[in-house]
């Protein structure tokens, strides 16, 4: 690819962020997904979130598995390296990449097929391992790329395009993540840009493992009447309990919400997570309560969204493994090779 000098002229309507960049600088290649696919809205929300946070657009690791959703890292953050890896195995590749350089923002993109079926094991274990990353599942209840088979997140009784009902219980990745110990767990809807951008910002800045399950309708195979992952169903049944936004250190943000209870959760870097509770009966700091709440509302057919559980001040993999602060990929011979004296004593230990 040839380096093209960036045009100096900028459209006057484009806002400049803290580091002098516009939203354009966070975009990627043109999407090849179906027009109207929910996944494109998730990509757009990622672009907005990163631009609003003013993060350097080349300091990301974009890792994905296989699926329409997993293609999307090509469509945002074009200045960052991306890796469209193996079906269901994004978590392991992200783990390795994150271990190699802890200074980059690690963003994992997966699908419901990718994470709840073939990659269910890897999903569970990356949660346990507490990689410092944001893990997003573009959840459409179907295998988009292989043309519309039911996925494991498809609800019991939800129908296929041809009207055939799904006969199996769904796997709820959000409840799973909470159960296994994720410290930032959210659910959102690709059609709710305000909520989603706030959650992505908060999730990216959360130190530790963040998980967002985004209901992201597949217009080609799962957006009909009878599907519980359609735009219409989500618009009717979404119940947002807690919205979240990131407030940088020393920045007092204007909140444009009309009313509601707000709470600031302090993050290790001095920034805040500003939570707004939209339902007084919901507590995002109580894991078991959250899991129960989801189950209860789910039985009523509601889809609970927002920041469902958060816990700050937690250890991530780097802390657990007691790794040096220098990124492992920049250690050199000096750091890595124990040298000749050590080798002589090693040899001696085998005599």
């Amino acid at each position: 690819m040839t380096f093209v000098a960036k045009p100096t002229a900028r459209h006057p309507s484009l806002k400049i962020n803290e580091i002098g960049l516009t939203r354009r600088d966070y975009e990627g290649s043109v999407s090849t997904l179906c027009a109207g696919c929910g996944h494109d809205s998730v990509s757009a929300a990622i672009v907005s979130a990163c631009a609003e946070l003013g993060l350097p657009p080349h300091k990301f690791l974009k890792i994905s598995g296989i699926g329409c959703s997993s293609k999307t890292p090509n469509y945002f953050l074009g200045h960052s390296h991306g890796f469209n890896s193996v079906h269901g195995r994004m978590p392991s590749v992200a783990t390795g990449a994150s271990l190699a350089n802890k200074e980059l923002y690690c963003l994992g993109i997966s699908g419901d097929g990718d994470s709840a079926s073939i990659g269910f094991g890897q999903f569970a274990h990356i949660v346990r391992r507490r990689i410092n990353m944001l893990y997003i599942v573009d959840n459409n209840g179907t295998y988009g790329l292989t043309k519309g088979q039911f996925s494991a997140t498809n609800d019991l009784g939800s129908t296929s395009k041809r009207g055939v009902p799904n006969l199996y219980e769904p796997i709820d990745l959000v409840s799973m993540a909470m159960q296994i110990g994720a410290t930032f767990v959210a659910r959102s809807f690709s059609g709710d840009k305000r909520q989603l951008v706030g959650l992505i910002k908060a999730g990216l800045m959360h130190r530790g493992f963040s998980f967002i399950d985004v209901i992201s309708p597949c217009v080609a195979f799962n957006n009909h009447n009878g599907s519980t992952k359609s735009f219409a169903h989500m618009r009717n049944m979404q119940r947002e309990v807690v919205s979240a936004d990131y407030v940088a250190p020393q920045v007092e943000m204007q909140i444009d919400y009309a009313a509601g209870e707000t709470e600031d959760v302090t993050m290790p870097d001095g920034a805040h997570l500003r939570l707004r509770k939209l339902h007084s009966d919901y507590d995002p700091h109580d894991r078991l309560h959250a899991i129960n709440y989801l189950g209860e509302r789910g039985r009523e057919g509601e889809v609970v969204t927002g920041l469902l559980y958060v816990k700050s001040d937690t250890e991530n993999t780097h802390d657990i493994l007691n790794l040096v602060d220098t990124p492992l990929n920049s250690l050199d011979e000096e750091d890595l090779c124990p040298g000749l004296d050590a080798l002589e004593s090693i040899n001696q230990s085998f005599r």
Partner: protein
């Protein structure tokens, strides 16, 4: 009265002793001390563990070969058997060669049956249990010290230096000094009994020698772990599987010692026990993609699981290092035995057209060297490198040259562009063959604000990493990967060639042998045995795939070649034919010599098979031709 042993019948430093124990009875440490004491007396020795897939209760054997001339491959038949496991008495007694010695616990009821079974061997009963009853009150101690008592008795009977043994006890229990005195005592009980009641020493004896030199005695897995440590590995992701587990454990142990930041106490290496092998190799690939040196270690079943990822890494051109400590097939049981049966699995690992780089170390020293080299090769060639060891090499202690390291050595990180490099360039094309060696330039994530980022995928991209499904682009890429394969031929370790047959015959020899990996331990001896029968063979030890020109030349120069391997299907032979067919390597000239019973191949096995093949050929040639009409 037995007739006294005549001095000329005494055999120094040449015997095989087999210890038959029950798994989990503490015998491993005593038996290890036996072998190590002989090593410290300067005598070449090796010990092989034959163990079940079991933690406690099943039979286990430890076979020690002592050989002044350094022939340390497995040898069939035992000269001495220490029979401590009632369950395997019969088979252990039967393993003795005529004139051999059976050492057993005469306080056990089985003793009489044992004596009756064979009259062509010497029976050496030691009332081990009875001796201990009076000395140690604690039943657990009595069980453990049984092993030490026979060790003491053997020291006396074989003339092993007791001071050396006691030094080893000191070393072993440093920091746990209370255990030293009782161990000494148990040794003395054994040696005292042998001195007082068993009379003459055995026909086999140990005497100090200078044949060890500055060599070390170590297992291949520890060696490979140290090679990875010196080679700069900073990520190890693995999933437990015998016989590879001890490699990851050794790496973790040495990293904690030698990669610790003195100020912060933090470690310069991440060791992650993954949830399975798919995840382990995924982590390695993620880390390699992001510029850290990463490896996994596993065995056959793990390599099978890693196949999909290995293909991705081949196509996406990502450095990764994998150690396959080969074992015998799937499931449990036999898999705790050794084989060389993952050759084809490894070289052609994955779907699509793939060819993987494979290194074949034969000794602990080579495990160390090849482990370190594997990281340079993987970075230089931007591809997975598989190092194939096996259970025999990996888990047993072998006599080895000491590890060496060149203080000037710099890691070859391959073609990685820095931010400065990118600033000087007008164009970056990830998969363009700029240098004609089939290897493109890569960049690491985060290197530069607006140059050099690319999207990694397996296939479907052009030279500039842009998405395309164009057939021509795919073919160009696949052809370039073959150019890279040719480059690899010049970089991997060359085959080691020994023209001993040619020299001996003064004119070109038309027969030779090809072998690799742990078979080396038996090969020198097999060649000597053949040579004593007047059969002089040239020899080539293959050390890597792809094969270099020297392999082609060696094969071309010989009419008859024996390919010796530890698998059923002659996998290396198949590979030579597949890869070198276009260079004229044909199946008629390559003859398989195979052993795959799960024990290390022995010199006798190789010798017998080659000899009978040659004799068969001679008979064929003598036979009058019968013309058939049909």
């Amino acid at each position: 009265m037995k007739p006294a042993i005549k001095p000329k019948d005494i055999i120094y430093n040449d015997f095989v002793i087999r210890f038959a124990n029950v798994n989990g009875s503490g015998s491993a440490s005593a038996n290890g001390m036996f072998a190590h004491a002989i090593f410290r007396m300067g005598v070449p020795v090796t010990g092989r563990n034959i163990f079940p897939s079991n933690i406690q209760g099943l039979p286990t054997w430890f076979e020690v070969r002592v050989n002044e001339r350094g022939h340390l491959g497995r040898r069939d038949g035992a000269d001495i058997v220490v029979a401590m496991n009632a369950e395997t008495y019969v088979q252990d007694v039967d393993a003795l060669l005529p004139g051999g010695y059976l050492v057993f616990d005469s306080s056990k009821p089985m003793a009489r049956t044992l004596r009756a079974r064979r009259s062509d061997i010497h029976h050496i009963g030691i009332p081990i249990a009875n001796l201990l009853v009076h000395e140690f009150a604690d039943a657990k101690q009595r069980a453990l010290f049984k092993n030490i008592v026979y060790l003491g008795a053997l020291a006396e009977l074989l003339e092993i230096d007791m001071d050396v043994l006691k030094h080893m006890v000191d070393d072993q229990y440093r920091g746990k000094d209370a255990l030293i005195a009782p161990n000494y005592h148990a040794l003395d009980i054994g040696s005292g009994y042998a001195r007082d009641y068993l009379g003459e020493h055995l026909r086999f004896r140990v005497r100090p020698s200078d044949q060890v030199g500055n060599r070390i005695i170590v297992d291949g897995n520890t060696s490979a772990a140290l090679g990875a440590l010196y080679g700069g590995a900073s990520v190890c992701a693995w999933y437990p599987i015998t016989p590879s587990t001890s490699m990851a454990e050794a790496f973790e142990k040495y990293a904690a010692q030698h990669r610790k930041d003195p100020d912060s106490g933090q470690i310069k290496a991440a060791v992650v026990q993954a949830e399975d092998e798919l995840s382990a190799i995924g982590m390695v690939i993620g880390a390699g993609w992001n510029g850290a040196r990463a490896f996994t270690c596993t065995s056959g079943p793990g390599v099978s699981l890693m196949n999909e990822f290995l293909g991705l890494a081949y196509f996406a051109e990502i450095p990764a290092v994998l150690f396959d400590i080969q074992r015998a097939g799937p499931s449990t049981g036999m898999p705790t035995r050794t084989q060389q049966s993952d050759i084809l699995l490894s070289v052609y690992a994955s779907h699509g057209d793939t060819k993987q780089i494979v290194l074949l170390p034969s000794s602990p020293k080579e495990c160390f060297d090849f482990a370190a080299d594997a990281f340079d090769l993987a970075d230089r060639l931007q591809t997975p490198v598989l190092v194939l060891s096996d259970l025999d090499l990996g888990m047993n202690d072998h006599l080895s040259e000491p590890f060496e390291w060149d203080a000037e050595r710099r890691y070859d990180r391959g073609k990685v562009l820095s931010a400065d490099d990118l600033d000087r360039m007008d164009q970056f094309s990830r998969y363009l063959d700029v240098d004609g060696d089939g290897i493109g330039y890569r960049t690491l994530p985060g290197a530069h604000p607006d140059k050099g980022a690319f999207f990694t995928r397996g296939t479907s991209r052009d030279e500039h990493a842009a998405y395309t499904e164009a057939p021509e682009a795919y073919i160009r890429n696949m052809e370039r990967l073959l150019v890279k394969w040719d480059t690899a031929k010049t970089l991997v370790p060359k085959a080691e060639i020994d023209q001993r047959g040619t020299d001996a015959n003064a004119n070109a020899n038309d027969m030779g042998v090809i072998y690799y990996g742990s078979t080396e331990a038996a090969m020198g001896e097999a060649l000597e045995l053949l040579s004593e029968r007047g059969i002089q063979l040239d020899a080539m030890r293959i050390r890597a795939v792809p094969f270099g020109d020297e392999v082609v030349r060696f094969i071309a120069a010989h009419e008859t070649l024996f390919v010796v391997e530890q698998n059923r299907d002659g996998q290396m032979r198949q590979l030579l034919i597949a890869e070198l067919g276009e260079h004229g390597v044909a199946s008629q000239s390559l003859h398989s010599i195979l052993y795959y019973g799960g024990l290390a191949i022995s010199a006798g096995e190789i010798y017998e098979q080659i000899l009978s093949w040659i004799e068969e050929q001679m008979r064929e040639r003598m036979r009058p031709r019968v013309l058939k009409f049909s």
